[in-house]
Symmetry: C2
Subunit: 138 residues, 2 copies
């Protein structure tokens, strides 16, 4: 359980690639897709989400493409994951104040704890850190 989907994985790979480019360098979606080994049309959707959320900025037309909208050191893994997968939410009942049935939410506190912990782990990792980390082949 709790698996990241392809979308999430692609999102991470794609934005890491962007973060590895020289500052200000514009990348085409085709270029990012090739480098990250992700289906291009799918990645395009992902980057649309990024753009809407202000993680990357996009420009159209000749010479257009994508650039990080903020320094990589200020973009957290959590933001990237949540951008495409929605909020970290181990159980629906963490949304409303009350749990579904007329009452018991014995596990509520546990899910809350899981949520808090996962969020804090993902918030502590920046895209910059990931982009600089060595590949661990083999």
């Amino acid at each position: 359980m709790m698996e990241l989907t392809r979308k999430g994985e692609y999102a991470i790979r794609g934005i890491i690639y962007l973060a590895q480019q020289p500052p200000g360098r514009v990348s085409l979606i085709s270029e990012i897709a090739a480098a990250a080994e992700v289906p291009q049309t799918f990645l395009a959707k992902i980057f649309q989400s990024f753009a809407k959320l202000g993680l990357v900025s996009s420009s159209r037309g000749t010479g257009g493409g994508f650039v990080l909208a903020r320094p990589a050191s200020t973009i957290t893994l959590r933001e990237v994951v949540e951008a495409v997968e929605g909020p970290i939410l181990p159980n629906r009942c963490l949304l409303g104040s009350a749990c579904d049935r007329g009452g018991p939410c014995r596990v509520h506190a546990v899910w809350k704890q899981v949520q808090t912990e996962v969020v804090s782990i993902l918030d502590a990792v920046t895209i910059d850190t990931l982009a600089r980390s060595p590949d661990c082949k083999g």
Copy 2:
């Protein structure tokens, strides 16, 4: 992301009910399903998994039903969740030693950390604790 499915939620509700019964008391699946407000046939499948894994013991025929196979204080929330949802696995790459593409698994260590943390939270909660916890209506 990371949402528990209905199956997981039903599993927890069902086994909590069992844990609330007087020791040794046999419960019918129909009874558990009604109490936990879960579709009976679906819950039956869930309890089949429990039985195979030795969380509950089952007996057939008249007077048959389900009982916890071990003291509720030795059954952790993690066991229950994993019984029906599979292992806590934030990313596939935590299975094999290497990550998919010829190399980079920059986020590998992060997912490992998430996995470890979640497992430890869920392992710290026993069904007994949940069964005794007060309902938090409203």
